[in-house]
Symmetry: C2
Subunit: 189 residues, 2 copies
């Protein structure tokens, strides 16, 4: 059993997503989530400030994981390969596909949650850019590489959600190839 | 005099940004903006729902302009070149640099405005992706090209704001070249 599946945070997240899927996000209460997880409301609030944050715990885990992974890339590696090497380790913290499918549907149906997701993604991009700058990248190149890497990650996630047989690493490599194809078309005569 | 400088919307936007610059965004009222522009509050509300939207009128103009420009690109053009050709016409609607510098500072200092900016940019990206799909692009390629093009546009804007002598077209071309450099590094052995 992966760490996430057995620990308290993971139990609360799974219970919450099950309930969101069964009865909708709006109709689910913190009390119900805690009960389904076999925990108290007090336990819930030790992990999350509110119901909404259950959907974003994975983003926080991903951000801290990726920042450590960026720091572990050999010095002298260019900006985009550094980010892609870090992204290749993301499966260590990414939630199971069934969880992410429900999460994605809940967020898509709820404009305030979509806004929250945008803010979290912008914050992740800023943190990655800052990490590249710390490693010596020029700030403008760091930001461009981050924006491009986030586009690759988005496409990878989309394809992995759409196809249960998709392998994360192969999909990340394919998305990187697609990026190069798209970028090259901009300068083709 | 450009259209924007002489029309009512432009007068209100300039008056608002002057006041935001002089006394801060929070301390500026709609009544003050209308007075500075030599107009009534009623005129203000014909153009903007509230003080905040004064900062985003330019985004709405840019979006409708870019969608028309995308539609005017010859059929059969690839996704990213289509967007870059549309972006090349952006100076027709982009606000003057002095205006954008104040706008950028006001937004950077105010988290709810930063969130609003993120939402507007996400909405622009969705509209451009949809426009590419209408023209026949595969949805995943359309989204990847849009994300990459938005990264190029962001870098172009950043450089034009930082350097008053920067020419928009030359800067857009340079940012496109930088994109190719960054993307190519991802596959270099």
């Amino acid at each position: 059993m992966a760490r996430w599946e057995g620990d308290t945070q993971g139990r609360l997240e799974r219970a919450a997503l099950e309930l969101f899927d069964e009865q909708g996000y709006d109709r689910t209460t913190v009390a119900q989530i805690a009960k389904r997880a076999g925990l108290t409301e007090r336990s819930f609030y030790r992990w999350f400030t509110d119901k909404r944050e259950v959907l974003f715990g994975g983003r926080a885990d991903l951000e801290s994981h990726l920042l450590k992974a960026v720091a572990a890339v050999p010095p002298g590696t260019a900006a985009l390969p550094t980010l892609l090497a870090a992204f290749a380790t993301a499966p260590e913290v990414i939630r199971p596909r069934e969880f992410l499918l429900v999460r994605s549907a809940v967020i898509a149906a709820n404009p305030p949650l979509r806004e929250r997701e945008l803010i979290k993604l912008a914050s992740l991009a800023e943190a990655l850019t800052a990490a590249l700058v710390t490693r010596g990248a020029d700030p403008q190149t760091a930001r461009l590489a981050t924006d491009v890497a986030m586009a690759v990650l988005r496409l990878t996630g989309q394809r992995c959600l759409a196809d249960e047989r998709a392998d994360f690493h192969a999909t990340l490599t394919q998305a990187t190839t697609d990026l190069l194809t798209v970028a090259t078309e901009a300068v083709r005569p």
